[in-house]
């Protein structure tokens, strides 16, 4: 036997079958990736080709008009979306983070009520958004709170909608802080609360804020719950406070797409461009935050 033959007998060449399997599987993966990108590309192409030319400073600063498409803008929708996002953030950040801290740091995991809370949160995150809209309508707009179809009601409803997601993400971020950090802090005579406030939360802030931004970007894209609780259609005024009637970008988009006038439909495409730009910016900030501040343990 030559040296080459010996080598070949020790490390046999890959069989044809193995090679074929590898390339078929690789091809399938590439194909699914391409399909996803094609879909995304088609959507972006569809609304930008129609809507990009619509987006001008006038479009952003004008109120919607029911009669003249060229004079119709998204000023009230943008302000409504900003208001909703702020209300939602103010509610969801403290409640979500505190719940996550309780579940991760204080709750005894084998107690039945803690397990129930946990399962409930998992399930709530999968509840369709329109159901939250009905909840908002029954308990916030009417019923016990009776706020009417105002900004506060919209913000609270969206906060309820994304709260489970924020809790789940915050818990993951808190869990990623290794127990050795908690031990180190407690061994120095820190109380549990000092340990949470000075070690655990700073160590998980990147994960928590990334999750919050992604949750908020989901909230501002929601149409169904706002529709159910009764957002205004094409209002020609901006919200002035928590008790104002309001609209939001997705509601404005929906209103325009339902108009028989072709011109209004291209207005909708323009509003989609703006909404997508806001979402892209928010997601980029989330990615940047994660890369910049994520703690490698």
């Amino acid at each position: 036997m030559t040296a080459a033959q010996i080598a070949a007998s020790v490390i046999p060449k890959a069989s044809g079958r193995d090679k074929a399997g590898t390339s078929v599987f690789g091809g399938l993966m590439l194909a699914s990736l391409a399909l996803a990108f094609l879909g995304l590309g088609a959507i972006i192409w569809d609304f930008t080709s129609d809507g990009l030319s619509v987006v001008t400073w006038d479009f952003i600063t004008k109120f919607p008009s029911r009669v003249i498409p060229e004079n119709s803008g998204i000023n009230s929708a943008i302000w409504g979306t900003i208001w909703l996002m702020v209300i939602c953030a103010v509610l969801v950040i403290p409640i979500g983070v505190m719940t996550a801290v309780y579940l991760e740091e204080y709750a005894e995991k084998d107690r039945w009520y803690n397990r129930m809370i946990e399962i409930n949160i998992q399930n709530l995150s999968a509840v369709p958004s329109v159901v939250y809209g009905i909840l908002g309508l029954a308990f916030i707009v009417r019923g016990p709170l009776s706020l009417g179809p105002v900004l506060a009601a919209g913000g609270i409803t969206l906060a309820l909608l994304v709260l489970p997601v924020v809790i789940i993400v915050a818990r993951e971020a808190i869990r990623a802080v290794p127990p050795s950090i908690r031990e180190g802090s407690l061994a120095l005579g820190a109380t549990q609360w000092q340990t949470i406030w000075k070690q655990v939360l700073p160590g998980s802030i990147a994960g928590i804020s990334t999750g919050v931004i992604l949750a908020l970007s989901r909230a501002i894209g929601e149409t169904a719950p706002l529709l159910v609780i009764g957002a205004a259609v094409s209002p020609r005024f901006n919200p002035t406070g928590l008790d104002s009637a309001f609209t939001a970008l997705p509601i404005q988009i929906l209103a325009w797409t339902q108009d028989p006038d072709r011109e209004f439909i291209s207005r909708a495409a323009g509003a989609i461009v703006v909404l997508m730009a806001i979402l892209l910016i928010m997601n980029s900030v989330a990615i940047w935050l994660r890369n910049r501040y994520e703690q490698k343990w």
Binding site: S180, E183, L186, G189, A190, T191, Q199, P202, Q295
Partner: protein, 288 residues
């Protein structure tokens, strides 16, 4: 023989043993005791992890806890600063008398205990902060008076780290080597001015050179602090400690492993002339 033995060699030191009276077969109680451990049992749920611990750990000396894996050394050392309280199912029975007080008396606040008794862990666990903030964390919690810069410098000097890091105090502690991180953790524990330092296998994640540095440091620190160290490394116990407790494990019903102390005596005696054949088998490497 000088007080400090050469730490790099693996000879059994005669060091501090000469300063002690001859060891007795039974756990003896030296005049100066920092922890008087009486009949301590630790349970995790229904599992008895260690049982019947009676030890008088000496003040101003280094006590080593040795023994095979799973014999409850770490469980026991965590009783000394009430770290076991963090495990909900853990229960400690018996008494640990520290400065005349039972650490497990109902009116004792574990947080206050931990402020007096520092701890260093197996794996270096610096906080994801600057070197300076790592050291300053404890003193800030305690609201220690005086210049924080001075407190940090003093702690780093005591941790034998000052010269290596004085120019980069504001850089992240994660950029340090493993050995430096562990000395930072020691310095961090010293910054709050405890009188005891508990070390749970502090060198098991370190290379021999870093280990040697930490052993030198321990010998310096025992001038000021009482030190209890858990170690898997018998040479280390022989090199640095004055007293040694040998733990082992018995298998009970349902294969439950329960740790207990076989022999507690001057290190010199444990390594050269132990009373119990099980100790001898372990320290000579026949078992374990």
């Amino acid at each position: 023989m000088p007080e400090k033995t050469e730490t790099a060699t693996e000879h059994v030191p005669a060091a501090a043993a000469s300063a002690l009276p001859a060891a007795h077969a039974k756990p003896k109680r030296p005049a100066q005791t920092i922890f008087d451990v009486r009949d301590v049992d630790v349970h995790y749920g229904t599992h008895k992890a260690v049982t019947g611990i009676n030890l008088a750990l000496p003040h101003g000396q280094i006590t080593a806890l040795i023994g095979p894996s799973g014999c409850g050394k770490s469980t026991f050392i965590r009783c000394l600063n009430r770290m076991n309280d963090l495990i909900p199912s853990a229960r400690v029975d018996g008494q640990i008398i520290y400065h005349g007080q039972d650490l497990y008396a109902p009116d004792i606040d574990p947080v206050q205990v931990r402020k007096r008794i520092g701890m260093v862990f197996q794996k270096p666990n610096p906080f994801p902060k600057s070197i300076y903030d790592n050291i300053a964390f404890g003193p800030r919690l305690l609201g220690m008076k005086g210049s924080m810069d001075d407190i940090v410098e003093q702690a780093l000097r005591r941790g034998a780290l000052w010269d290596e890091v004085k120019d980069r105090l504001k850089t992240n502690a994660f950029g340090m080597s493993g050995g430096q991180q562990q000395r930072l953790c020691i310095a961090r524990a010293l910054a709050t001015d405890p009188d005891v330092l508990l070390m749970d296998e502090p060198c098991s994640a370190l290379d021999p050179i870093s280990t040697g540095r930490i052993e030198d440091l321990m010998l310096e620190l025992k001038e000021t602090y009482s030190i209890v160290i858990v170690t898997h490394n018998m040479q280390q116990a022989a090199r640095v400690s004055d007293m040694t407790a040998f733990f082992t494990v018995q298998l009970g019903d349902n294969e439950q492993r329960t740790g207990y102390v076989v022999e507690y005596a001057a290190t010199d005696k444990i390594f050269t002339n132990p009373d119990d054949p099980r100790t001898e088998e372990y320290v000579t490497g026949k078992v374990g």
